[in-house]
Symmetry: C2
Subunit: 294 residues, 2 copies
């Protein structure tokens, strides 16, 4: 048996960094008290979703690694003796920023980091302005609770990312995310988008025989430029098992801290009955390295 | 507008080849009468699912291409002026067989063929005994109703296959399949498997912004070796739109011929709001060509 208790921390974020961090820290404590050995925070949990507008002032939100913010979460991991997946706006150098998940060990040391590889850019999600695409590849992070396939938000739409983490031995796929409804979308379109987001991540679970932990922010955040009507982040953080079965889903419209037990060994059982890795046609996949086959 | 009326033909198969073919032909006629321009048959629709047992006698079911069976379906395509996706047990040479989808044009000519690339082998699904893995790659087939990304059954578990078809310009993903419950599986496991099968294919739709047409056989077929308790094929042929939204789902336990209208142009709209192809990290996908990254 190799069960792991994973804490999911879904909350709103406001304009005060210290308040956002306090919210995360309180929920980490709550999850740890409830037995979590691994806690996963949502994407960019220290700030509002700044990418709704392209403004140079927003770079003030970024943190160096190491730095004060990193130190704060390192201490939380150590205090609660948990492995902690954070999602930070990394300032690597003047003019060079990444969307970076920093993973802390139970002793507060940095187990590893992942820099978001696929960067979106859509109205209200202007991430290409802020984040240089990751240069660390799709490398799982080894921790005392297992080898973690940490990816971030937009990565969740790419089967390639999940597959590469799985091929490198990841035991869990983990997605901190920040996604929601554009307020003017009609309800049917909102529902299709939510279902699509769930379907594709459940699909990654199935294709790779891996559990998926997805932690999304909740709450409404206005677009202060007035260009759009703001984003209703749709919460609904979830855990799926290695057949894509939903083990837990958080509510849409409010904060939620929840500890879910995942049986990592089910990967072994599921991959025995569905041995997809056995039959991959690696002799015929060269086209995957092309932009388009025209 | 570029709507296409697709006919799905889900039925049982018995031990008489002529009866199985008659069933398919009657359903093709029904779908054509209902306006279908494209008709998709289920996997290996001319025979029972022979792969429940490894027996050399079963090779008698195979057909050469061209040959009498091919001629029969060519004539049906021509008679009804439809594009027709069939799924045949191809005898290519003595001792060399494939699981092959032959696609016919409206004039009865062969538009192209696809040989199943990923071959399963599990108790009651001994396909590796019968089928040499395909050697035609993941090439869409151009027809008068569009460029068709035809894949077959086990391929449906591989995001790589769907992606390669999409990158090569497929406008629809099409999966003839033959999958069902092993009768002794407990009900919760049966439900997880069915959901997984739907989730991963809906995921292919989402990842690639493409509609998916999946046609599965129905009915119970005994395992004449007595090794297992036979397969309840789960029917539930379905059509999903390019956000993975279910447009139609057939019943589980009976034959079903249905014509569904698909708006191929929604791919354009969906790929504008979700431009996943723009951001693929082809510089970092080399690992996809490896068996495992150890």
């Amino acid at each position: 048996m190799s069960n792991i208790k994973v804490g999911l921390v879904q909350h709103t974020c406001g304009s005060q960094k210290s308040a956002n961090i306090s919210d995360s820290l309180a929920a980490i404590a709550e999850a740890a008290t409830a037995g979590a050995e691994l806690v996963v925070l949502q994407e960019l949990h220290c700030s509002p979703y700044i990418c709704q507008v392209e403004e140079v002032e927003q770079f003030d939100w970024a943190d160096p690694i190491p730095g004060l913010t990193v130190q704060t979460f390192a201490e939380a991991a150590k205090r609660h003796e948990i492995v902690l997946v954070t999602s930070l706006f990394e300032k690597r150098a003047p003019g060079l920023y990444h969307n970076t998940a920093v993973v802390f060990e139970k002793d507060g040391s940095i187990a590893g980091k992942y820099r978001k590889m696929h960067i979106p850019d859509d109205p209200a999600y202007y991430e290409k302005f802020y984040f240089t695409p990751g240069d660390l590849g799709f490398e799982p992070i080894d921790t005392s609770v297992g080898r973690l396939g940490v990816l971030i938000c937009w990565d969740q739409w790419y089967p390639e990312a999940a597959r590469l983490m799985a091929l490198a031995g990841a035991e869990l796929l983990i997605y901190p995310t920040a996604i929601g409804y554009e307020t003017t979308d009609e309800e049917a379109e909102q529902q299709r988008q939510l279902d699509a987001w769930r379907s594709i991540q459940r699909g990654h679970a199935v294709a790779n025989g891996l559990p998926v932990v997805c932690v999304n922010r909740t709450g409404f955040e206005p677009d202060w430029s007035g260009q759009t009507k703001g984003i209703h982040f749709w919460g609904r953080s979830f855990v799926a098992g290695p057949q894509g079965e939903i083990l837990f889903e958080a509510p849409q419209d409010r904060a939620c801290t929840k500890v879910i037990e995942i049986d990592k060994d089910r990967t072994e059982a599921v991959r025995r009955i569905w041995p997809f890795f056995r039959d991959r046609r690696i002799d015929a996949y060269q086209g995957l390295l092309k932009r388009y086959l025209d």
